[in-house]
């Protein structure tokens, strides 16, 4: 019960006007702090409340597809601009990011390891591509932020992409190590 109340307080705090304005005022804070924070809170909701049990595994895949589509949509420069400019779009973004996190919480754990890796590699490509665009553009790509803020957000995205690459590499190597002849563990254990 206390955890759920804390979760609710965290959600209200993140989207409350003064904190929301503060997070929206910089591209890095908006894209790399507020959005992951809301997605993280959505993921936490998936752990705090009983998760729905789907009859078909493909619904979990659909949940992950929803999450990836949502992340792709809100990483578009025009979407970021509109979320900063139009209040109701900002609210839609908040709700979507929470649902995105929740979708990942109900979808990811039940997917096989190889599918998780495929999504991980896709996410890595998305993060790195966006990072390169934002870090190297000499003209504003997002109309609501300065070129400096854009370059800073791009550089941070590249660092995040690097970290994600190391995580995926580590998981892949762990799988190889555990599936080598003579080892007792199998793929599922590694996953």
């Amino acid at each position: 019960m206390i955890r759920r109340i804390c979760w609710l307080i965290a959600i209200i705090a993140t989207v409350s006007p003064p904190i929301d304005s503060f997070l929206d005022s910089s591209m890095s804070r908006h894209m790399l702090l507020q959005m992951p924070l809301l997605a993280g809170l959505g993921y936490a909701a998936g752990l705090l409340w009983p998760r729905p049990r789907f009859r078909f595994a493909s619904l979990e895949l659909a949940a992950v597809f929803f999450a990836l589509g949502s992340l792709m949509f809100w990483m578009l420069p025009r979407s970021l601009d509109t979320a900063v400019t139009v209040a109701w779009v900002d609210q839609v973004m908040h709700i979507t990011m929470i649902v995105t996190g929740w979708s990942l919480a109900i979808g990811l754990p039940r997917l096989p390891f190889h599918t998780k890796m495929a999504f991980g590699i896709y996410a890595l490509a998305m993060v790195l591509t966006t990072g390169v665009v934002y870090a190297t553009a000499v003209v504003p790509v997002c109309s609501r932020y300065t070129v400096q803020q854009q370059n800073e957000a791009g550089t941070l995205l590249l660092w995040i992409g690097g970290a994600l690459f190391l995580v995926l590499l580590g998981r892949g190597m762990l799988l190889l190590a555990t599936s080598a002849p003579g080892t007792q563990r199998n793929h599922e254990t590694a996953a």
Binding site: F56, A57, S58, L59, L61, A62, F65, F66, G69, S70, M72, F73, L76, P77, R78, S79, D81, T82, V138, V139, P140, V141, C142, S143, R144, T146, V147
Partner: protein, 215 residues
């Protein structure tokens, strides 16, 4: 027996594939709608697509040039016009765009001002006075046929609407800075936008396009 098994497999396959495919199709639809068919990912490019296909009629603007002369942009009808919008206090993209015009002028000097004019219009008339425009013109070597001008009135809804019809997006920020597109428009002697150059670094393309049209 075989057909029963096949039927079960088909049902299972359908139940497995349909939910993810529906979600995928929904996102493809949303993203396609939002980006005008995967062609406009930024606010700037979306404004340009929303203005419609080329060629399209260019709206007219009341301007005051670096000599203090009041003009209408339609005064240049009968010549090709390379038009860009900027403001002199801009710290990032405007100097790059103006550098493009500087380079274009060096290559097209012999065509100007009889066949072609370059027109840089500021949307910040309060700060970009005639004296300031003349000073910037001097900084670029007083090029003949390059008009540096400012709108005669500050940005209002009517001007914003005209700029949107052109395909240009601009928004005034609280700190008196402007967020804006960085395009140059090639307007033909009939007053139609015939080509758009997106972003700075386009001087070579501008020169080629003008030379092609003036052959």
């Amino acid at each position: 027996m075989v057909s029963k098994l096949t039927g079960r497999r088909l049902t299972r396959l359908t139940k497995t594939l349909v939910p993810p495919l529906l979600i995928l199709a929904a996102w493809v639809g949303v993203l396609s709608w939002w980006t005008s068919g995967f062609s406009a990912f930024t606010t700037y490019s979306h404004a340009l697509r929303a203005a419609g296909p080329l060629p399209r009629s260019a709206p007219s603007f009341q301007i005051r040039d670096q000599f203090g002369v009041l003009r209408d942009t339609t005064d240049f009808n009968g010549k090709h016009v390379l038009l860009q919008f900027s403001y002199l206090s801009c710290g990032d993209v405007c100097p790059l765009s103006m550098a493009d015009f500087h380079m274009a002028h060096m290559s097209l000097e012999n065509r100007m001002p009889d066949e072609l004019v370059l027109l840089t219009v500021s949307f910040d008339p309060e700060r970009d006075t005639t004296a300031r425009l003349a000073s910037m013109w001097g900084h670029h070597g007083q090029p003949d046929g390059w008009y540096l001008a400012a709108l005669t009135s500050p940005l209002d809804d009517r001007i914003q609407a005209d700029l949107r019809r052109l395909g240009f997006w601009v928004s005034r920020e609280d700190d008196s800075l402007f967020n804006h597109s960085a395009q140059a428009f090639l307007i033909d002697p009939e007053g139609r936008v015939v080509q758009v150059f997106e972003g700075p670094g386009n001087s070579v393309r501008m020169v080629s396009a003008v030379e092609e049209r003036l052959l």
